[in-house]
Symmetry: C2
Subunit: 230 residues, 2 copies
């Protein structure tokens, strides 16, 4: 399937929000994406960012088995009038994304975003979708601030951090391409969507992310998020 | 100068606390190391960690020109009975450390620590000094949690983050060795003390750091520090 540039301009935006994690690192019964921070579940903050970017965006929510009970009250309270397409999370992130992509039409621009990254900026989202519309792919990256060493069996060496970037989400693609890429068999190198995509299409486009776009994984991250939101 | 293993065991601990920064990233008149967080200046929290590790530790404080006015009231309030050796900060971090090393005797174990890393754990400090006593050097490192890409002129590639480590301070050394290393002429690759040391002595020993040991550089870091301290 070939989609030319002019068609790309009018393709609808879609996003797959991957919310499959069980939150084992949080020492909590409630998975982290459903935890309340400053009055709303983290997942609500995340969804609102994409709605602010494009109120018409097509949203697929990939939920882990049994998480419907966490989601339903959120849906009723914050998004009563809104349609969400639900997909079922798999064993791995790869399986969960694949499950979400089954709900996506070929002729759209689709982002894949971690439910636990509520601090993505609307500007970052826009840069990613604009760039994916033009180039077929876009992932947000930021500078590495720490001094970094590469560790080998015998020794370690300082790495020039100016050549390194930290990768965030949303990772955004021409839907027909990322769907094709996800038909490949899983390999251990597939650590994010960009690695799946570039195995098939050779490269991904990098765009500027925003440093606040942290992934909420540890208890202290909840407190940091609370500060960033206020 | 050769110092054998048995002598190493009884060498005194020393630390150079490098407090030369002018805090231009903080949008503030007060340099960040003197800012109050939870009732004490950041520099006080930092110094207290080293005193908790070893009450007898020899402390050299490298201050930027004009910062004596920030330091004097801190000294009077928190460390009235304590001796600090003062050294004058230079143009660059390399110059500042060199200035501090002039105050250090050859026969001790010396750590070099950023004043704005108050969350170093006492366990991290102990691991570094124990290891430097045994091997001549030790720097604390922690895992990289983000997905990392290496960016080239034409393309970018995912890097296996299991081979990467984030480097912290204190970086700790046999004093006679690090002093000898700092007699080398400055080159742009000297981004921390470990790179200066290993240019002369080939390698540095890595030990486990602690993730909370963040470097306070941006306004939001002050709020994160406040959470970590409480």
């Amino acid at each position: 399937m070939i989609i030319d540039f002019e068609v790309m301009q009018i393709l609808q935006n879609a996003v797959i929000i991957v919310s499959g994690g069980s939150g084992s690192r949080m020492q909590s019964e409630v998975p982290k994406q459903y935890m309340d921070v400053n009055g709303k579940a983290i997942l609500v903050w995340t969804v609102e960012k994409f709605l602010a970017f494009d109120p018409q965006i097509f949203i697929v929510l990939v939920l882990a088995d049994g998480h419907q009970d966490f989601w339903n009250p959120i849906k009723n309270r914050f998004f009563r009038e809104r349609e969400f397409i639900m997909a079922r999370g798999g064993e791995s992130r790869f399986d969960s994304v694949k499950s979400g992509l089954e709900m996506i039409k070929d002729d759209c621009i689709v982002g894949i975003h971690d439910a636990v990254r509520p601090m993505v900026s609307i500007e970052t989202i826009k840069r990613c979708y604009d760039s994916a519309r033009e180039f077929g792919s876009a992932i947000p990256v930021i500078d590495v601030e720490d001094t970094i060493r590469s560790v080998g069996a015998q020794n370690s060496n300082q790495v020039n951090r100016e050549n390194l970037k930290r990768v965030q989400t949303p990772q955004v693609f021409a839907a027909h391409q990322i769907k094709e890429a996800y038909r490949q068999s899983y390999t251990i190198e597939f650590t994010d969507d960009a690695t799946v995509y570039e195995r098939k299409f050779n490269s991904v486009k990098l765009v500027e992310g925003n440093p606040e776009n942290i992934k909420i994984t540890k208890p202290v991250d909840l407190k940091i998020l609370s500060i960033l939101l206020s």
